[in-house]
Amino acid sequence: MMIEIRFHGRGGQGAVTAANILAEGAFLEGKYVQAFPFFGVERRGAPVTAFTRIDEKPIRIKTQIYEPDVVVVLDPSLLDTVDVTAGLKEGGMVIVNTEKTKEEVLEKLKKKPAKLTLVDATTIALEILGLPITNTSILGAVAKATGIVKIESVEEAIKETFSGELGEKNAKAAREAFEKTVVYEL
C-alpha cells in the first residue's frame, strides 16, 4: 500500500528537506519513494507544502497529494491559517510541532484525525541545533508515530544529507524528538 505524507511548514523551516530526508530514510529500507515540494513563490515565512510518497513498488503517479494518510505540521501557527486536515484520509494521522496540549490542538483542526501526535520540536531544535529549524526533529516524531520508517534510517538519511557535525547534531535532534513524541489515539 502506498503511504502519502503531506508536510506543512513555512519558507525557511525546511519542510522540503524534511520530505526528502523521509523519502531517503524509507529508500534505505528498500522502499520506492517520491518527494517533492509544491513550489509557490518562495519566500521566507510563507506557507510551504511538501509531499512524500512511499510504496513497495515503483511510484508512477505525479500529482500532488490531495488525500494524505499523514499530515505533518512544522509550524504551529499554521493551524490558525491553513486547513491542514484538508482531504485527510479516514483513519489518518496528524503530527504537530507544538508546546500546546492535545485539546488545544484539536480545537484548531477542522477534521478530527484518528491519531494525533505532538512533539515540541522547536524547543528540541533550539537546544540541540541552536536554531528553530524543526525539519529534522519532526522526523523523529514521524518515525515514532507512523512506524513507516525506523528512527535509525531517519538518522542515517539525515547524516547523508548534512555532512559532519551538522549531520550528527540533526540526527541527535531527531532521536531526541523520537523519545519525547506523544501519540494520542482518538
Binding site: A23, F27, F36, F39, R60, T63
Partner: protein, 393 residues
C-alpha cells in the same frame, strides 16, 4: 552504481557527467538551474576531467558557444527552460543546420506572461521545426537514460542532429525519485567518445560552416536534414533496443504502449502526466473500463508508423495536450490527426487541453475523460473536438 534518490535535474546532470561531456555552456533559469549548478559542483569538486564550463550572458550565447564547441568535435551539453529556450530559438536552427549533435535538457515551463514557473510543453513544442530531435521523459529515470541515449543517437553518423531531452518543471525537475544509474564503465562501453564527421580544429583539412546556400544548393541541404530525421527513427529504435538489452530498460518503441492490446479507448500524451495516466489506466481497468495508454516518447522525429499501427485497433483516442497552439488546437492532437488522414485508420479522436501552467491532471480527471470518451463512442460522434477540460465555469 547503486540506485539513488535524486531529482530529475540531478539525473540530467549525472547523465551529462557519465556521458563525459567536454563542454557545457549555460545560463541559469528556473527550474533548470540546479542542472548546471550540479555540473559546476562536479567541476569544483574535481569529479570530472576535461570538462570546460563556459559561463555566458544569455541563452542565445549559451547555444552559440555550444555550436562553436560542438563544431570542434567536442561532446557538448546545455540546459534551459521556457523564456531561455525561446531566446535560443535562432541558434537552435543553427545547431541543426550545421548538423551538430548538441544535447540539451529543456525543463518544460510555461511561457510568460503571466509569469509562471510551472509545467507546460508549449515552450519545447514551439521549437518543433528547428531540426532538433525531441524526447519527452515520464520520470527521472527516463531523464537519465534519455540524456545518455541522446548523445548516441545524435552523434550517429547517419543522424548528426541535436537532441532535446525534455522533463517537466518541478514534477520531475525538483521531485526526488529512485533512479538506477549506470556504472561509468557501462556508460563508456555504451557511449564511446564522439567521432565527429568534421572538426574546426582539424587544421589540415580546413573548411567553413554556415556559408551561403544559394537557391541551387539550399534545397538539398534541407532534404538531407529531412532524410537524417527519417533515418533517426531507425537509429532511435536500434539504440533503444541496445539500451534495453544492456541495462534492462527498453526504449525500442518511440510510442510506449501500456495495456492497449484490447483497449477500446487509448489516452495519448507526452511527459510526466503519462505516469499518472498509467496509474489511472490500472485503476480504471479494475473498474471494468477497457482503456490503455500511449506515451509518445519521441515527438521529433514523429512516430507515424507506430501511431498508425495503434490507431488501427482502437475505437477512440483521447489526446491529452499540456500545450496549445493558439488559433488551432493541441499540438500533439494536431500532428496525430494529420498522420492518420491518409491512412485507413480513423478512430474517433478528441483533444483534451490539460495541465497548462502546472495544473494537476489527477486520476479522477482521467476517469472523467474516460466516461466522456465512452459516451462519444456509443453515440458515434464528438460532442466537441477541443475540450478545455479544467476550465473554471
Amino acid at each position: 552504481m547503486p540506485k539513488k534518490v535524486i531529482s530529475g535535474n540531478y539525473a540530467a546532470a549525472y547523465a551529462a557527467k557519465h556521458a563525459r561531456v567536454e563542454v557545457v555552456a549555460a545560463y541559469p533559469i528556473t527550474p533548470q538551474t540546479s542542472i548546471i549548478e550540479k555540473i559546476a559542483e562536479f567541476i569544483a569538486n574535481g569529479e570530472v576531467e576535461n570538462l570546460e564550463y563556459v559561463p555566458v550572458e544569455s541563452e542565445h550565447s549559451a547555444m552559440a558557444a555550444c555550436i562553436g564547441a560542438s563544431a570542434t568535435g567536442a561532446r557538448t551539453f546545455t540546459a534551459t527552460s521556457a523564456q531561455g529556450l525561446a531566446l535560443m530559438h535562432e541558434m537552435l536552427h543553427w545547431a541543426a543546420g550545421a548538423r551538430l549533435p548538441v544535447v540539451m535538457v529543456n525543463v518544460n515551463r510555461a511561457m510568460a506572461p503571466p509569469w509562471s514557473v510551472w509545467d507546460d510543453q508549449t515552450d519545447s513544442l514551439a521549437q518543433r521545426d528547428t531540426g532538433w530531435l525531441q524526447f519527452y521523459a515520464e520520470n527521472n529515470q527516463e531523464v537519465y537514460d534519455g540524456v545518455l541515449m541522446a548523445f548516441k543517437i545524435g552523434e550517429h553518423e547517419k543522424v548528426n542532429l541535436p537532441v532535446m531531452i525534455i522533463e517537466s518543471a518541478f514534477i520531475l525537475s525538483h521531485t526526488y525519485d529512485v533512479v538506477d544509474m549506470l556504472e561509468q564503465e557501462e556508460v563508456d562501453e555504451f557511449l564511446p567518445p564522439r567521432k565527429p564527421l568534421y572538426s574546426l580544429t582539424d587544421f589540415d583539412n580546413p573548411f567553413s560552416i554556415g556559408a551561403l546556400g544559394t537557391p541551387a544548393d539550399y534545397y538539398e541541404f534541407r532534404y538531407k536534414i529531412a532524410k537524417a530525421m527519417e533515418e533517426a527513427k531507425k537509429i532511435i529504435k536500434e539504440v533503444g533496443k541496445e539500451f534495453g538489452e544492456k541495462f534492462g530498460r527498453d526504449y525500442s518503441q518511440m510510442i510506449e504502449l501500456y495495456k492497449t492490446d484490447d483497449a477500446d479507448i487509448v489516452f495519448m500524451g507526452m511527459g510526466s502526466l503519462m505516469g499518472t495516466v498509467k496509474e489511472a489506466v490500472e485503476i480504471l481497468r479494475s473498474e471494468g473500463y477497457k482503456v490503455g495508454a500511449a506515451k509518445v516518447r519521441w515527438f521529433r522525429p514523429f512516430p507515424r508508423e507506430e501511431l498508425y499501427e495503434l490507431a488501427k485497433s482502437v475505437q477512440g483516442i483521447a489526446v491529452l495536450d499540456r500545450n496549445f497552439s493558439f488559433g488551432q488546437e493541441g499540438i500533439l492532437f494536431n500532428e496525430a490527426k494529420g498522420v492518420l488522414y491518409n491512412t485507413g485508420a480513423k478512430p474517433i479522436m478528441k483533444n483534451y487541453i490539460v495541465g497548462l501552467g502546472g495544473r494537476d491532471l489527477t486520476v479522477n480527471d482521467v476517469r472523467k475523460i474516460a466516461n466522456n470518451m465512452k459516451k462519444i463512442i456509443e453515440k458515434g460522434e464528438l460532442d466537441k473536438e477541443i475540450d478545455w477540460y479544467h476550465l473554471k465555469r
